[in-house]
Structures are given as structure tokens and as C-alpha cells.
Amino acid sequence: MLFVLALSAYVTGFFGYLGYLIFHQEIYHKVGHYFFVLGLGIQTFVLLSSFMVSGVMPVENLRETLCFTAWAIALIYVGFNLRFRLMVLGAFVAPLVCGIMIASSLFSGSSAVSPDLLKGVWTFVHITAIFLGDGAFILAACVGIIYLMQERAIKKKQHGFIYHRLPSLEVLDKMGYACVAFGFPMLTFGMIAGFIYAQSVWGKWWSWDPKELWSVVTWLFYAALLHERLTVGWRGKRAAVMAIIGLAVVLITFGVNFFLLGHHTQFTKF
């Protein structure tokens, strides 16, 4: 019930953002944003209350995992937009959040995991940090797409619908960077928490699990991206393209257990 409520608030928010994009009247954005934040509030309440009751992180199956992903993206978006105020971004992020929410409802909610596996402070840190980090990377990719659209409009000298509505390249570039700069330490932190947790449960830090491997690939990718930006100046178009490729790596890491088994498999089972 609350899920439907949260989803409808997100969808209403999306239409508000879309209205802003088309009609360019601030009121649409304002109303849309109220609804979106309302949706986030409801979902936060749902997640928090179920966690408080059971003490289990709500990632027991693909359905819950997707919901949690949508929540992380929404939270990161609302948080980052407090500072950057990119009014058009909502029209790109909200459909993503809505889509993931709807997709999640297609899968059954039966659980294959022993709940004890998802208890404890290290799991909490591991899962929360990694999902928030991934949320930030997804947002960076969204911003990257907008950057490429705007860059193309300026380069090709076609100043139409898109050009007038999208913000300056500089702001987009800065926001994309801020997302990656936030996501990377989150990922690092989450992975460390995961190693510690693995040591405490299975008695070994590292077990050549496909998800572990791909997490390291993701980590290396974003480490390289940040390093190159700070030293050589990978910014602008290249940074935007890399942020989008980064999203693909994140998605592979997320979905690797669909093809390869490992001890993360249960969480994406349906």
C-alpha cells in the first residue's frame, strides 16, 4: 500500500518535472519536486520501519534490491540538487526511479536468504554505502548525458528546445564531478566494510566471488577517472562519456550474478 503511494508520488513528481521541461514554468518544477520528495519520504519511512522491526537490510531478493536502488538514486538526487539546483535534472532522474520501482514490483517477494546473513553493523554499512555510491554514479551518468546533449547543441550551433532549457556546461561538469567524488569514497568504504564482514562470517577477506571481482573493476575505473581529472584534466566531454561508461560497469557489477554464481547471488534472485 505504502509502496503504491510512494510510487504514485514519484510518478506525479515526474510529470511535474516533465511539465517544467516543456513549458519552462517554475511552478511545475516546484509542485513536481514536492511530490518527489514526498515519495522519497514515504519510501524512507517504509525501509526504515521494516529495518527497525526486523533488523534485516531490505535486500533479501531482487524485488527489494531494486526498490533499495531506486531509493538510493532518489536520495542522492534530492541531496545533490539542494546544492546544484539543476531544475531539468528531475525530468531525467524521476523516470529512472519510477522505472526501477515498477520493475521491482514485477518480481516475487519470496526470500531465499537466511535473514541472519543480513544483520549486523558491517552489513548495514556495506550495503548502504555501496548503494549510495552506486546511486551517485548513476546520477553522474544522467548528468553526463545532459552534458553531451548541451555540448552538442553548442558545438553544432543548434540552439533549440534543448539549448534554452539546459544549464551551462560548467555547472553540469561540476555536478558530474561532485557525484563521482562522492560515490568513490562511498564505494571504497562499502567495499572495506564488505571485506571485514566476509572475514567475520566466512573467515576470509576475499573469495574470488564474481561480484567482488567486478567491484574491484568498478573501483579501479572510477579511481582512474578521478586521477586523470585531477592530473591531466579529464573534464567536459570526456568526463561525461566516462561517467556514462562507468554506469555500464556499475550495471555489470550489479547484474553479474544473473550469469555467474557467487555468494551475492541470492540478493538478485527472483
Binding site: 553548442i154 544549464p167 556546461l169 560548467e170 567536459g236 566531454k237 570526456r238
Partner: protein
């Protein structure tokens, strides 16, 4: 009472005629004094800008009013009427009101949507009120036209997007860099458009200017004007490392900057974006630079293309603006028609009668033990109080002022103190509100 307007503008008169007719503020003051002495005109406003000279006036007989204004132009500018009559346009009644609203909303301007005209209209009105040539009719007309213009600016995109080359360059720079506060400008060469663009960029708080010129003396002089740094032409490449916006306007036959020159500095710049504005013909900046990542080149044709599209946009917005103007013309006409003795007395009587009825109903609801006779007596009593109170004001209104202008003043004042405009028409706004 009618409103007439006679004048000329950039569409009807060539510049040599317009400059003969322009009034500076001193002449305008004398002109207004002269207008106030013309018996056919009860009120007048004189609008004079570089693109137009117009007199809007309230008068009893529109034909006489128009003739009087034509005569006024001919006398004050000592020019026989037949020399310029073909340049004049004449509007009467609603058309005159519409014209004033359109001018203030910048729908009649040479550059559609330019913002200065509203300020110029306000100045004209200020001079007129100083010279005491306006009354109830034109006061309201002017206040209404300011309101209309503000609504047009707020509700339509008529003032959006640049329509001059130099301003289009600034808008583009802001789309690339966002805030310009830490961005440096490099001006190569000189020229009116380029210098204007630099000025606009500095107005948007660009951090500083380097000026390069073939003759160093010229660079020094220009740099002084912009409080920038003069550099030699050979130093341009080196300064590509620190400048962000390059405006080029030289007479050089070939490219001043080539792709390889820019490629060399990309690493030192850490790929921070560079924006090249090439105003020169033949071009100064190699267009291939546009293909480099994070480098943007706009030449004069590109900028012209941008403003052509923006002008199209403004024209589309103008259609919506015209609708707002027409709406306000109708509102003004309704008000003007009400500004007569009979409608004023009628609405005054209506208002007082409404108050009487409401108060009677309220009182009778509380009083018990009153028979029909008693009720009738109260009814008669309240009615006769109102009639007695109304008697003198109505006599005064009927007698009217001594002159037409005073009469309007009295009627306008009466409507204001009894709040007759608001009670009849919910969205009317008192004339003092801008």
C-alpha cells in the same frame, strides 16, 4: 472626452526628420507648457525618444484635438505642416490607447522587446506630471500602460534571448561557463562590436581583459579603457593558457589562431573550455578548432544565425503580448466610459443602496417585536438619510467643474473615495498602483 495621439516614429519618418522633431528634456518642458495653453486639449503627454516623437492628449473634439497637435508640432519646430504631414500617424479613441500600450510594451520598437522604452515612457510621464499637463484620463492611461508593459515582460518571452551580436556572445559564454566571475577575456584587434562584447562580458563580472593589437599603442589605449592588460601580438599564444574567452576582430588576411596553436595549450589548461568569438571577416580563428574537445568557435555568421532565431522567437511571443495589450485596452475603455456624470451617480446610488439593504437585513434579524409598520418606518428613515447625505454631492457632480479637465478630476476623485471602481469590477486597481 476622447483620447487622440499624433506622432511619428522610425517606421513613418526617416532619421533626418526624426532628429528635427526630437525634444530634449528642456524643450520637452517648454513643449508641455505650450501644450497646456492649447484650449482644445484638456490633458497632454509628450513622448520623445530617438525613434519617436508623439503627443497623446485628451480632448473634447478629436478632430480639433488632432489639428491642434499638428499645429503645435509645426509651431514649436518652425516647419510648415505640409513638409512633414505625410510622416505623421494619427490615432483616435481605442486605437490611441492601444498604440500607447504597444509602445510601452516594446511592440512598436525598432528592436522588438527592447527594455529601454518603458523607462523612457516613465520619464515622459514624469515630465508631464511636473508640468501639470495630465489629469484623471491620462494619469490612468499612463499607469495602465506601465502595468500592461510589465505584464507583457513577465508573462511572455518577448525580452528573452539576445538580439544583438555582442549580447549573443555573452549569452553563449554563460551557457558554456555559467558564472563568468573567474573567467578572463582576451581581445585580439579592435572594433565596435568586439569592444561592445568585451564591455558586456565585464558587466557580467568577467575577471579581466588582455588586449592584443598589431600596434602596441592601440593595445595600451584599449586596455586602459577596460582596465585590462595590454599585450603584444606575439604573446597571444602564451595567453591562451590563462584566457577563457577569446574575441578576435583583426584585419589580418589569414588565420590569427590555428588549430595547432590551440592544441599546444590544451594540456597546460587541463582541458578547461575555451570559447572563441570570431567577429572578423575574413576570419581570424581556424574553424577546425571547434572540433577540439571543450573548444567552441563561433564566427560572425553563427552569431547572426543565433540572433535571427531569437528574433523569430520574439515575434512569436509578440502575438501573446498583443493579446494582453488588447485586453487592457478594453478594460481602459470600460473605465473611461464610466467616467461620466450619469454612470458615476448611478453607481454611487447603487453602492449606497446595497449598503442600506445589507445593514437593514442585519438589524432586522436581531430586533424582535417589530410589526410591519415599524419595519416600514425604518425603511423610510434609512432611505431619507441616504437621500439627504447624497443630495449635495450629486448636485456638485451635476454642476460639474468649470472646465472639462476639472470635471474629470472631480469624477475620478469621487469614484476613488467611494471606491466605485473596485466594487463594480473586481480586478480594477487604483490608479496609484503601478
Amino acid at each position: 472626452m476622447d483620447i487622440v495621439l499624433v506622432g511619428l516614429n522610425h517606421k513613418t519618418a526617416p532619421v533626418d526628420v526624426r532628429e528635427c522633431f526630437a525634444f530634449d528634456s528642456l524643450e520637452a518642458d517648454a513643449g508641455l507648457k505650450e501644450l497646456s495653453r492649447i484650449p482644445e486639449l484638456t490633458e497632454a503627454v509628450l513622448i520623445s525618444t530617438c525613434n519617436r516623437v508623439e503627443v497623446a492628449a485628451a480632448c473634447q473634439d478629436p478632430d480639433q484635438g488632432v489639428a491642434a497637435i499638428k499645429d503645435f508640432f509645426s509651431r514649436t519646430k518652425s516647419m510648415p505642416l505640409e513638409n512633414f504631414e505625410q510622416n505623421l500617424f494619427v490615432y483616435k479613441g481605442d486605437e490611441a490607447v492601444q498604440h500607447v500600450f504597444r509602445v510601452a510594451s516594446s511592440l512598436d520598437s525598432m528592436v522588438l522587446g527592447e527594455p529601454q522604452i518603458l523607462g523612457q515612457m516613465k520619464e515622459s510621464y514624469r515630465l508631464a506630471t511636473q508640468a501639470k499637463t495630465t489629469g484623471a484620463v491620462l494619469n490612468r492611461l499612463m499607469h495602465r500602460c506601465f502595468m500592461t508593459a510589465k505584464r507583457v515582460r513577465k508573462e511572455t518571452g518577448i525580452g528573452d534571448h539576445a538580439v544583438s551580436i555582442s549580447y549573443a556572445a555573452v549569452e553563449l559564454a554563460r551557457k558554456i561557463f555559467g558564472e563568468l566571475t573567474d573567467k578572463k577575456v582576451l581581445l585580439i584587434g579592435a572594433g565596435e562590436m568586439a569592444e561592445l562584447a568585451v564591455e558586456h562580458l565585464l558587466n557580467h563580472r568577467a575577471a579581466g581583459v588582455f588586449v592584443a593589437n598589431r600596434t602596441f599603442e592601440r593595445a595600451v589605449a584599449l586596455a586602459e579603457r577596460f582596465r585590462g592588460t595590454p599585450i603584444r601580438l606575439e604573446e597571444v599564444e602564451e595567453h591562451l593558457k590563462i584566457a577563457d574567452i577569446i574575441i578576435s576582430s583583426t584585419g589580418a588576411p589569414g588565420y590569427v589562431l590555428e588549430k595547432k596553436d590551440v592544441k599546444k595549450v590544451l594540456r597546460a589548461r587541463k582541458n578547461r573550455p575555451l570559447f572563441f568569438i570570431d567577429i572578423a571577416v575574413p576570419r581570424d580563428i581556424d574553424p577546425a578548432i571547434n572540433n577540439l574537445s571543450n573548444n567552441f568557435v563561433y564566427d560572425i555568421d553563427d552569431l547572426q544565425g543565433v540572433i535571427d532565431r531569437n528574433i523569430d522567437e520574439r515575434q512569436k511571443e509578440a502575438i501573446r503580448a498583443e493579446r494582453i495589450v488588447d485586453e487592457n485596452v478594453i478594460k481602459y475603455r470600460t473605465w473611461l466610459e464610466g467616467l461620466d456624470i450619469v454612470p458615476t451617480i448611478v453607481s454611487l446610488q447603487k453602492k449606497l443602496e446595497a449598503i442600506r439593504q445589507a445593514e437593514m437585513a442585519k438589524t432586522l434579524a436581531h430586533v424582535t417585536g417589530l410589526d410591519e409598520n415599524g419595519k416600514e418606518a425604518i425603511d423610510r428613515l434609512t432611505q431619507s438619510i441616504i437621500n439627504k447625505v447624497m443630495h449635495d454631492p450629486i448636485q456638485f457632480l451635476k454642476a460639474g467643474g468649470h472646465r472639462e479637465k476639472q470635471k474629470k478630476e472631480v469624477l475620478g476623485f469621487t469614484r476613488d473615495i467611494f471606491n466605485l471602481n473596485n466594487s463594480e469590477n473586481g480586478d480594477e486597481i487604483s490608479p496609484d498602483e503601478e
